[in-house]
Symmetry: C2
Subunit: 259 residues, 2 copies
DNA sequence: AACCAACGGTTCAAATAATGAACCACTTGC
DNA sequence: GCAAGTGGTTCATTATTTGAACCGTTGGTT
């Protein structure tokens, strides 16, 4: 692993529940030498990727990441576009919605929206890291990913988040095939019990799945009618989001599924 | 310069008008060896900071920057908060508004809002890089920056963007002192002719200026009354933004300026 | 069709930068 | 006043980065 990768890996230890990290923590988390971490963080700081708290000297992400994100948005505006799509989808379905992006080994939630319709709802945090195999979003992405990428994901240890999580690679492959039939994935309690989640893949300009759009609802509220509402709304919203970021679904993506 | 800094410097060549850059371009822009650029970009790609176009192999910023920005927003939500502040300020003043962040050698616009009030307005792009000395935002930040930082900025060559740009360090120092009197900066045509811009600094938790909030209007529309409206609105909005990101103005910041 | 220039990508000995054990100064809790 | 934690620093050893020259392709010109 090159020096640059090591430095960037240090950035990955920031998380929603750990927005500030000290030098010693980073050293432990990364397993690198303290002097190395210190120097790398110093370089990251010079470039504005992290900044240091005045009093306790803990590191936090710096303003430079906002700048780069603004630039990325200028070319591929998935965030700003998805915000509106999420808002509409939440209003339409009355449930919590979110978009996620597929990464090398995991899926990251990017943005979410709540609906005021119900007092009980699935709550979310942005920038959460979740697994491919246990989430409807992750499975939706996998269903339209390169087969070798799927195998790479399935070759890793698959954690059983709940008793409902699919951890058998063969079962997951079957599930992915089923998802490809409809273009829509759903999981019941496989990441968190009592949560019934539906998702559709979002495609980039190269017709590959780059992320997913999802609706998460309490299982208790998931009547067959509600499920049909969600599936229809999700299909429309997903197609809209894919289109508005300049992407296109692959030729074999089920376009017009009759009710 | 360490390897990490070199890699991160490569990211700085992305701009609103150059969202995709090829290997040879990066080599020329950075002055580094092609093999070096290739390897560094490869590492940036592995970490998801950039991705490569399928057809022409040009690099563009990757999804990882969005993830980090979402995290940064979770701890210091300047972007999401500023969006609302900008909206209100634009509605109130009828003009274009924007927030910028101060960096080592330059200022970067982060987000902006337009007003529908007038057909003619100042147009903006997010993630633009501008100079400290020629913009009201930059001067507002400098007025509340460390004196040594000010000298560092003034020691660089100061480009005359227009005939109105202040380029004499002494004149700029005088201007900064004047800004400190009122806590508000304005420039007329110093970055672009015919644009009259007002700005207030935004302070972080450590009471240092981290950025600026600005209103940019066509000079022709800037009557004394309109100017007073803008100054008052800007003062309020700036205080609100500083407060809502968890920051505080320094003790010597003029708080309640009578009209 | 032959040419040329520019592109992305690759190689490997030489040069340079990264590394890590041990260190210091400081703060916190007992 | 001790012990254990913190952030920060040093410097000989080591491993990585570097860059000139290379290859294969592509697209435009003669």
């Amino acid at each position: 692993m090159g020096t640059v990768s090591k430095a960037l890996k240090l950035l990955s230890y920031f998380a929603p529940d750990r927005t500030e990290v000290g030098l010693s923590d980073l050293t432990r988390l990364s397993g690198m030498n303290k002097a190395t971490v210190y120097r790398l963080m110093g370089e990251l700081q010079e470039s504005g990727f992290v900044e240091q708290s005045e009093n306790d000297r803990a590191y936090r992400l710096g303003p430079q990441v906002l700048h780069l994100a603004a630039l990325r948005e200028a070319s591929t505006p998935i965030l700003s576009v998805s915000r509106r799509v999420l808002r509409e989808l939440s209003d339409e379905t009355g449930e919590t919605t979110h978009v996620s992006l597929g990464h090398e080994t995991h899926v990251q939630t990017l943005s979410h929206a709540y609906s005021p319709s119900h007092a009980t709802k699935v709550t979310m945090e942005d920038a959460q890291t979740v697994t491919y195999h246990a989430t409807s979003s992750g499975l939706a992405i996998l269903a339209y990913a390169d087969p070798e990428f799927v195998e790479q994901v399935l070759a890793q240890p698959l954690k059983a988040h709940t008793s409902m999580t699919l951890v058998d690679p063969d079962e997951i492959r079957a599930k992915l095939a089923a998802i490809r039939e409809t273009g829509l994935s759903d999981t019941l309690g496989s990441f968190e019990l009592e949560v019934h989640s539906h998702a559709v893949p979002i495609f980039g300009a190269d017709r590959r799945a780059i992320g997913a759009l999802a609706v998460a609802a309490p299982a208790s509220r998931m009547s067959p009618e509600q499920q049909e509402t969600i599936r229809a709304a999700l299909r429309r919203a997903g197609a809209a989001l894919t289109h508005r970021i300049g992407g296109s679904p692959p030729a074999d993506y089920p376009q017009n599924i009759p009710a």
